[in-house]
């Protein structure tokens, strides 16, 4: 008789679980991590290791201290740590800043608000902003790749900084392969696209949201600069594509509804564009995600569907 489960609707069963989705995201991040290690050397792997281990450990310790059920097994802390690490430059001398960022992401942004599913903002994006404001010198920009077709061009400044200050840019091929300055995971566009395709095929994310985000930045740059060349560089440089695939599609901190997701992506693109063109920081992707995270409950409320016969919200 125990096989009879009495519950309210919905009754659809699926194999989806938090850990399966998170595992898929980890698999999708794998090529990017490998690419980062090849481009920036072993230091990149060290940063990734530090962030993942300290993220998982902080969730583990927090759950023990507040006597909550252990949630490390759902891999979400590992995903947060990995995404954060891929957003940082490969600099092992900044190891303690990586630890602070991971602890901040997991404990302050996620666990203090009630754990996975209750955090209002993307932990990795928030921690990145936290580190960016705190340690402008060490973690603000990126660092130079080990191999480059024209090493003298890449002296540590990310293409965005070069674009803002004026100067020669790496070629489009270098941009696609990731042979440029920047954070560990954001440079190799090809690897990010492999992860993107995997996630879309596994139906973990919808393909529209990242595309709308990227398209918004592209179109706005095209309008302002009136040049396909600059607009292409705008979307290829910085952490835009990485964030579009792995951060704008976060389940927890973005709207649930389809139209809400579109509004979210357009908003992110608009804020990114505004910060890049008119703000003080060369990169605005993390800020835009954080700002739109705050707006997501309202977007969701405005776009939520009315059940048949239900009252207007």
């Amino acid at each position: 008789m125990n096989k009879l489960i009495v519950s309210s609707s919905p009754h659809i069963k699926s194999k989806d679980s938090t850990s399966r989705i998170m595992l898929d995201v980890l698999i999708a991040l794998l090529p990017i991590t490998v690419a980062g290690a090849i481009i920036f050397g072993l230091e990149a792997l060290l940063v990734v290791g530090i962030c993942v281990v300290s993220s998982v450990l902080s969730e583990f310790v927090f759950n023990i201290i507040v006597k909550k059920e252990q949630t490390v097994g759902d891999f979400s802390a590992a995903v947060t740590g990995l995404i954060l690490a891929l957003n940082l430059p490969a600099r092992a001398d900044a190891w303690w800043q990586c630890i602070i960022g991971s602890v901040f992401a997991i404990i302050v942004v996620k666990c203090l608000f009630g754990g996975l599913g209750c955090n209002f903002a993307n932990p990795a994006a928030t921690a990145r902003v936290f580190l960016l404001i705190s340690f402008t010198g060490a973690l603000g920009g990126g660092n130079a790749p080990l191999y480059s077709s024209s090493p003298e061009l890449v002296s540590g400044a990310t293409p965005l900084e070069v674009l803002t200050s004026g100067g020669e840019m790496p070629s489009i091929t270098d941009m696609l392969l990731g042979l440029r300055g920047g954070a560990i995971g954001e440079t190799c566009i090809v690897a990010i696209l492999i992860g993107f395709i995997y996630l879309v095929v596994r139906r973990v994310i919808h393909f529209e949201t990242p595309l709308v985000f990227i398209a918004t930045v592209f179109v706005l740059s095209l309008i302002v600069d009136n040049s396909f060349y600059i607009a292409t560089y705008q979307i290829l440089s910085g952490g835009l594509i990485f964030a579009a695939v792995f951060m704008v599609t976060d389940y927890v901190s973005t709207p649930i509804t389809r139209s809400g997701k579109m509004i979210f992506a357009v908003g992110c693109g608009l804020i990114t564009f505004l910060i890049r063109y008119y703000g003080n920081y060369p990169e605005g992707v993390s800020f835009s995600i954080l700002l739109m995270n705050i707006l997501s409950p309202y977007i969701e409320k405005l776009t939520s569907k009315r059940p048949l016969g239900g009252k207007k919200a």
Partner: protein, 243 residues
């Protein structure tokens, strides 16, 4: 018994009814003046001095001040004491005066001082009001100092301007900036709420109308009744929208 009661009037301001961390009043100076220990200390002392003096004077004048214009009267009394403190500081501690900037003058509109005048001094005798002012002032000072120590030591690697050898190498500058103030403030409130008196449902039911600043507007006997009223109004609104 009476001495115990007097002691409690003083002690409740420290933790149980800490103006900053439990009542969440006076957040503006709390966030702005806790970037360094010295600023927090001088802010706390200045506010305590004004709070004790204004509580005493308002308590002494409580039968003279007409009820309808009491808020302007309190403001005038508080502004008078703030001016005294300001002039004294400008004369004897000019460096500190420059450091405090506009926040010294803003003590006039500090919610804690106005709140204690409204909630306590106008209903109690002079000695009790002085004790209440002192307790609340010291509570404010403790909260400011706790925040300032966390923010300065972790954020700048110094304590009251003196460098701490180990911390200076591993400082987190964001903590001395505005976002860090909010972060530390939120976490401190959470910690005090966890270890201190439990806020929430239970306390709201017991909240008496005597201490309530909107008692005259409200006109209800207890807050439980008031909550029901709010719920009813909301339901009506929903029905209206539905139509």
């Amino acid at each position: 018994m009476t001495s115990n009661k007097k002691l409690w009037i003083f002690l409740k301001g420290l933790i149980a009814e800490n103006p900053v961390l439990v009542l969440v009043l006076g957040t503006c100076p709390t966030l702005a003046q806790t970037g360094s220990v010295i600023a927090a200390l001088s802010m706390g002392i200045a506010a305590t001095a004004v709070l004790v003096c204004s509580n005493v004077v308002i308590s002494a004048l409580r039968k003279i001040i007409p009820d309808t214009v009491r808020i302007p009267c309190y403001i005038v009394v508080i502004a008078g004491f703030v001016t005294v403190v300001q002039l004294l500081m400008q004369a004897y501690l000019p460096d500190l005066y420059d450091m405090m900037g506009v926040y010294l003058a803003l003590i006039v509109v500090n919610c804690i001082i106005l709140g204690r005048a409204e909630m306590f001094a106008r209903k109690n005798n002079i000695i009790d009001s002085a004790l209440d002012g002192l307790g609340m002032g010291v509570g404010f000072l403790i909260a400011l100092l706790a925040m300032a120590v966390i923010r300065e030591v972790l954020g700048a690697g110094t304590f009251a301007g003196i460098e701490i050898p180990f911390m200076a190498d591993y400082k987190i500058p964001i903590l001395t900036m505005a976002p860090g103030g909010f972060l530390v403030f939120g976490i401190l409130i959470a910690v005090v709420n966890k270890i201190g008196p439990k806020k929430g449902e239970e306390k709201r039911k017991n909240f008496s109308c005597e201490g309530c600043p909107s008692a005259t507007l409200c006109g209800k006997v207890s807050c439980a009744e008031n909550t029901e009223l709010v719920v009813n109004v909301k339901e009506e609104e929903v029905e209206d929208n539905g139509n």
